[in-house]
């Protein structure tokens, strides 16, 4: 094992897969000469050349569509959205084209494509640039959704995504790019399968389900709860939201009898609500308290720093939610 930043882990996954398979290429705004808006693709242009690291004009619907058409005819594109906020102008391509072509062709035309980029709130970038897009896309059959929290998961899941024969939406954390974590040594080809949650922390006091950036908030809250209340939380990171590893969450809840779901998306529906539904249905008799959710507040993201902090899930809110379900 060695330590890498989240950004470097994603870059490594792309490099290794591009070296392995000449049909893999990267396309997006500023991915080449500029070295990536978030420097994820730094160095890729000089390594692979302009054929395989393709700068585009600002035209998400256009280059998303180009990627899908290229995927339908045999290539394996990685399409970078500078941020997922800009994917909305390509929404139709993802929903009506990528997610549908296998079905509309009776299973005869696959679409092996990865859309990736940073997701969620950054710091004070206000309402149009702070979306957590997972609830918009998880509703769609025909795509997979990965949302890695750690560098290791980012690398292993991205390698799986690039090799996958169906469209994958890969939601990176905009504030996670500098996070460091252990990643297998160079030359170790770790491919992490979709639909398998990671138990990030074991415990018997309360299950916390959290993915993406809130994973770190949950981990911090768990330490506080252990120290202050002697309550050991079990933290389950589903890692992919489609497919969703319901089984691992249900097993955890059967052990802890309590559950809090922490997510950065808005509270109305989405994977947060889906997870609550799956757990109440599959572990009803094991629950000692109603499941709590810690979500972004139900408002467009305000610019002011104090308000932004108020809107996003915090360690304090997670601690309070766990105390509530544990009757502490």
């Amino acid at each position: 094992m060695r330590e890498l930043r989240y950004r470097e882990a994603i870059r490594e996954a792309m490099i290794e897969e591009m070296e392995r398979d000449p049909s893999v290429f990267l396309m997006g705004e500023e991915v080449g000469h500029y070295q990536g808006a978030y420097k994820v693709s730094e160095g890729l242009l000089s390594r692979f050349g302009e054929q395989r690291v393709v700068d585009t004009p600002i035209a998400e619907a256009g280059f998303a569509g180009i990627g899908i058409g290229a995927a339908m005819t045999g290539l394996r594109p990685i399409i970078e959205f500078m941020t997922w906020n800009f994917s909305f102008v390509a929404f139709d391509q993802i929903i009506s084209s990528a997610a549908k072509v296998a079905q509309m062709s009776g299973g005869r035309v696959p679409c092996p494509i990865v859309f990736r980029g940073p997701n969620g709130a950054a710091k004070q970038v206000a309402s149009q640039h702070s979306h957590s897009v997972d609830p918009f896309y998880t509703n769609i059959p025909g795509v997979w959704i990965a949302m890695p929290a750690t560098p290791r998961d980012a690398k292993g899941l991205l390698k799986a995504a690039i090799r996958e024969n169906n469209p994958v939406l890969f939601l990176e954390g905009e504030t996670l790019y500098n996070v460091k974590g252990e990643v297998p040594d160079e030359g170790v080809d770790e491919v992490i399968p979709f639909g398998k949650a990671r138990i990030a922390r074991e415990g018997d006091g309360c299950t916390i389900v959290a993915w993406g950036r809130p994973h770190y908030i949950a981990m911090e809250a768990a330490e506080i709860l252990a120290k202050d209340h002697g309550l050991q939380c079990e933290i389950v990171d589903p890692r992919t939201l489609r497919p969703l590893d319901v089984e691992s969450m249900v097993q955890s809840v059967k052990k802890t009898n309590r559950c809090v779901v922490v997510h950065e998306h808005w509270p109305y529906g989405g994977p947060g609500a889906e997870i609550v539904d799956q757990i109440q249905k599959n572990a009803f008799d094991w629950l000692d308290a109603p499941i709590e959710r810690v979500a972004a507040l139900d408002v467009p993201m305000p610019y002011a720093s104090n308000l932004e902090t108020l809107v996003l899930p915090t360690v304090e809110r997670v601690v309070e939610a766990v105390k509530k379900v544990a009757y502490l």
Binding site: S23, F25, Q51, T56, P57, A59, A61, G62, F63, A64, G65, I66, G67, I68, G69, A70, A71, M72, T73, G74, L75, D92, Q93, S96, S97, V101, A102, Q103, M104, S105, G106, G107, R108, V109, P110, P141, G142, W144, A160, A161, R163, E164, N165, N166, V168, P193, F194, G195, K196, R242, P243, L244, D245, V246, E247, V250, E274, Q278, K281, N282
Partner: protein
């Protein structure tokens, strides 16, 4: 490929197959055997057949939801087409796509797309693949004049022009975007002006003569194959029926329709064959064969097994490498109450 009169004979046969296919589809629709939307190609057959004649095996074609004509022109069997319309398992998309979503990748046909302008960039993507892998193939993308006002069209053309992709954009200008004449949607008469802004070649002509269509489209296809970039072609045409089966086309006059029918592409090709000395008896024989073919495809569609729940579930995702089999009851969320798993037909 046959040339001259032999080629025209084949083209006439194909155009007639499309014409009769569409007429039978309309009849079946009226009988309730076909559901949903049905957009007929009657009146525009020379464009599909002429274009197909200009392509080689391995080229890619994308079309809108008015897609039966080009699918048949490229080689899809009438059986696979009619069965699809009837929602049957032997349909080209196993009954999952319907009229608007014909697919036949073996013959280069990549759909059958229902969102106006949405497939333009997809077609550019297929052309991108050809350039990327230097496979020598060309993509043709059809759309109507109504699509030239939507963003997807402009982004697709913009990138194709920028990267000089091997693609030919064919605007089948049938004069009406659903019920709205072009004069009320577009401040231009010559649509090739729009493509000029994207740095591509333009061409513009009437599309009732299949030989003309083939020659002009082939010029553009050859140019693309030589690596000299995309072409935008506006082909003037006319649909003899409404936009879809629910449209009686009251926005245009009977006189206008009758005038246009004088340029019926099937009649034009038939006359050309007769003028070239093909005997009436031979023409009648071709027409009889097509009648039999279409009658047989309706019979096939009637008798074919219905679309299956197995196909429905199995086509949401193609066989996957990322998701272990034990995590994939039917594709999605691990539903444990069995609700989604009772689907096997």
């Amino acid at each position: 490929m046959a040339s001259g009169i032999d080629e025209l004979r084949q083209q006439y046969r194909k155009m007639l197959e499309i014409r009769r296919f569409e007429e039978e589809a309309a009849r079946a629709y009226a009988m309730g055997k076909i559901g949903g939307f049905l957009h007929l190609y009657i009146g525009q057959e020379a464009i599909a057949v002429g274009t197909a004649s200009a392509l080689i095996k391995g080229d890619y074609v994308f079309q809108t939801y008015r897609d039966h004509g080009i699918a048949i022109a490229l080689g899809m069997t009438a059986n696979a087409g009619m069965a699809e319309l009837f929602g049957k398992d032997t349909g080209c998309s196993r009954g999952l796509g319907g009229s608007m979503h014909f697919f036949d990748p073996d013959n280069g046909f990549y759909g059958g797309w229902g969102i106006v302008g949405g497939h333009v960039a997809l077609a550019a993507g297929a052309a991108f693949k050809s350039k990327y892998s230097n496979d020598g193939h060309v993509t043709v993308c059809f759309f109507g004049e109504g699509a030239t006002n939507i963003g997807g069209f402009h982004e697709g053309l913009s990138l194709a022009g920028l990267w000089k992709l091997p693609i030919v954009f064919i605007c089948e200008n049938n004069q009406y975007a659903m019920g709205t004449p072009m004069s009320r949607t577009t401040p231009l008469e010559d649509l090739t002006l729009k493509a000029q802004g994207y740095g591509m070649h333009g061409d513009r002509f009437e599309g009732h003569d299949v030989a003309v269509v083939k020659d002009r489209v082939k010029m553009a296809v050859d140019r693309a194959r030589r690596g000299e970039g995309p072409t935008f072609i506006e082909i003037q045409t006319y649909r003899f029926r409404g936009h879809s089966m629910s449209d009686p086309a009251k926005y245009r006059s009977r006189q206008e329709l009758e005038e246009r029918k004088k340029k019926d592409p099937c009649a034009v090709a038939r006359q050309r064959l007769a003028d070239a000395g093909v005997k009436e008896a031979e023409l009648l024989a071709i027409e009889g064969e097509i009648d039999d073919l279409i009658a047989a495809c309706v019979k096939h569609a009637d008798e074919a097994p219905p679309a299956t729940e197995a196909a429905m579930w199995d086509s949401v995702y193609v066989p996957t490498s990322a998701v272990p089999a034990d995590r994939l009851p039917r594709g999605v969320v691990r539903v444990q109450d069995g609700g989604a798993e009772d689907g096997d037909a």
